[in-house]
């Protein structure tokens, strides 16, 4: 069985993102970039499946600029066997979920994986769309927001984190599974693995060589900082807190 894992290069989750003064985007120059944390969890799950003997090969795929090779190399160091970068022109702006899904579909057609593991959202655009779009275009099941995945031969039983609690569904394979935070805790990469990863194959394909072009129909007209909350007031005692709350009509 082959597993495809998608990796997105995003601003590291510890960075406090700032909007550029001219409102044309967010500051990414000199900012630490990482694998989207949810995608890291997706890859960890794939590696565990392989370690358990349920999968033979893990292919990591990214759609984006040449710089995404860094994140793919990290993925290889974590334990993926091969990497594919579908390269886009940086000038076209952030890759839209539809473009990413279309590119992944092309790779699926070449690779024929049994499972596609993805993050449930990317922490940059927070769209939470790509996995579901891909599953629809592939005409295959989707199991989103997974906190537990159990493989049973030709199907998978997936527990999903939903607003009301936990929901379990069964999907026939091949399927797209998007993962939530509590599925697992990704391993740390060890130095020898980073060295070894340099020798693993990483193919680069231009987006247009797949017969695709970037969808640019949505116009990201302007970016702004969120309104600031005027916090900061402290009270000295529980009684003072209660008095303040009463004054505000909250008690």
């Amino acid at each position: 069985m082959k597993i495809l894992v998608t990796l997105k290069r995003v601003v590291d989750y510890n960075v406090r993102v700032r909007v550029k003064n001219d409102g044309s985007g967010v500051e990414t120059d000199g900012v630490k970039m990482s694998i989207n944390p949810f995608d890291e969890i997706a890859l960890e799950e794939a590696i565990r499946m392989k370690e358990a003997g349920a999968a033979e090969e893990i292919v990591v795929v990214a759609v984006g600029s040449d710089q995404c090779q860094q994140q793919l190399r990290t993925g290889l160091a974590m334990g993926a066997d091969r990497a594919i970068l579908v390269e886009t022109q940086e000038t076209a702006g952030p890759v839209q979920p539809l473009t990413a899904a279309e590119a992944f579909l092309k790779i699926i057609e070449q690779e024929a994986p049994s499972i596609v593991l993805m993050g449930k959202q990317a922490i940059d655009d927070d769209c939470s769309q790509t996995g579901q779009m891909l599953a629809a275009m592939w005409n295959r099941p989707q199991a989103t927001f997974a906190s537990k995945v159990v493989l049973n031969g030709s199907s998978a039983q997936v527990t999903r984190e939903v607003d009301s609690g936990l929901e379990t569904i069964e999907v026939d394979l091949p399927a797209v599974i998007t993962v939530d935070l509590r599925l697992n805790e990704p391993r740390f990469v060890k130095l020898p693995e980073i060295m070894k990863a340099k020798k693993k194959p990483l193919d680069v394909l231009a987006l247009d060589s797949l017969g695709l072009s970037e969808s640019t129909d949505f116009e990201m007209a302007s970016y702004e900082a969120p309104p600031k909350r005027g916090g900061g007031k402290k009270v000295e005692s529980v009684q003072a807190l209660v008095d303040e709350l009463k004054q505000r009509g909250l008690l």
């Binding site: 989750y13 406090r16 993102v17 967010v26 839209q96 979920p97 539809l98 899904a101 449930k120 959202q121 922490i123 940059d124 927070d126 769209c127 939470s128 769309q129 579901q132 599953a135 629809a136 275009m137 989707q142 989103t144 906190s147 039983q157 939903v162 607003d163 009301s164 609690g165 936990l166 929901e167 379990t168 569904i169 069964e170 999907v171 026939d172 399927a175 935070l181 509590r182 129909d217 949505f218 116009e219 990201m220 007209a221 302007s222 970016y223 702004e224 900082a225 969120p226 909350r229 916090g231 900061g232 402290k234 009270v235 529980v238 807190l241 303040e244 709350l245 505000r248 909250l250 008690l251």
Partner: protein, 315 residues
């Protein structure tokens, strides 16, 4: 013509408040016609509730056994088939809507606007990105046949329930692909107010240290008639179930009063409470980032002050 279809969310018996909020958000596009679609096995009662949402013209009902559970794989093809009648499709940005709408978008090969927080015009929206650290204005050109969007429920009040829409039965137009099967569901006891829509919320963090210690949070919440929430750290540690998580990857809420107890205030948590009325923070570290956003901060040991707070309130 601006014709809007909103997808209703329900649990089989009760229409979700998120639906009335999605309608409120959708109204902003200046709809000349606004319909709602309800999927269900026996959705008669839910459809009647839906017909009361002000602003809705027609509730279209697709019923059948394969709609007994909200499976995106089953509903999305139906919605995609209905899409040509509408200029806009909306759904609440709950786990239901976030699972479903992008599948519709994939079938239609269209991009989607997620988590709409403000409607500036029929094709212009604001939405949060980077855990709410930036807000982008997205314009959808006329060349895009249908605008697909999910509505950030914390940004909109629920539409009134004084309407009287017509109810129309609709034939299912697709068949069950059969590849996705519902197995089961487990959820909270359903005691106390619903976290997503409660006007008061008391949340606990890692500082609580155990499920047992979380009782002080439940105690205070009870006294206040508040819902209980939690940070990711508290959920990960197993103190409380996942549906209580507040934040970027949990629930985005807008209560009048939010009390954060033993929560440091990571950006991923704060994004879930940006629209709260008054934020109260109780934390023993005066440097904790939660105090930067808290309207009222109390630097103290939670185990000392929370029981005292509960006592003073109930006095």
């Amino acid at each position: 013509m601006t014709k809007v279809l909103v997808i209703a969310e329900h649990d089989g018996t009760q229409l979700s408040v998120a639906t009335a909020k999605a309608v409120k958000g959708a109204e902003g596009v200046g709809a000349e016609k606004l319909d709602l679609v309800v999927f269900g096995n026996d959705p008669a009662s839910v459809s009647e509730q839906a017909a009361k949402i002000s602003g809705v013209d027609c509730v279209r009902v697709v019923s059948g056994e394969d709609f007994a559970e909200p499976l995106a794989a089953r509903m999305a093809p139906e919605i995609a088939k209905m899409a040509s009648d509408y200029s806009h499709l909306f759904v609440a940005s709950t786990t239901f809507g976030r699972d479903l709408m992008p599948r519709v978008a994939g079938l239609l090969r269209l991009n989607q606007v997620s988590d709409v927080m403000a409607v500036l015009g029929p094709r212009s929206f604001k939405r949060p990105i980077y855990a709410g650290n930036a807000i982008v204005t997205v314009n959808v050109p006329e060349t895009v046949a249908t605008v697909l969007a999910t509505v950030r429920t914390a940004s909109f009040a629920a539409a009134q329930m004084t309407g009287s829409a017509t109810i129309e039965a609709l034939e299912s137009q697709a068949s069950d692909p059969g590849h996705t099967r519902f197995v089961g569901r487990e959820g909270s006891s359903g005691e106390g107010p619903d976290l997503s829509s409660a006007s008061r919320v008391v949340s606990g963090g890692r500082a609580l240290g155990s499920a047992d210690a979380f009782k002080v949070i439940y105690g205070l919440a009870n006294t206040l008639g508040a819902a209980v929430g939690a940070s990711r750290a508290a959920v990960d540690a197993g103190y409380v179930p996942n549906e209580l998580q507040v934040g970027q990857t949990g629930k985005i809420i807008a209560p009048d009063l939010y009390i954060a107890v033993g929560i440091s205030g990571a950006i991923q948590h704060l994004t879930g409470i940006k629209d709260a009325g008054t934020i109260v923070a109780i934390n023993k570290d005066s440097e904790a980032p939660i105090f930067e956003v808290a309207d009222l901060g109390l630097v103290a040991d939670l185990f000392e002050v929370v029981p005292e707070l509960e006592k003073l309130i109930s006095a």
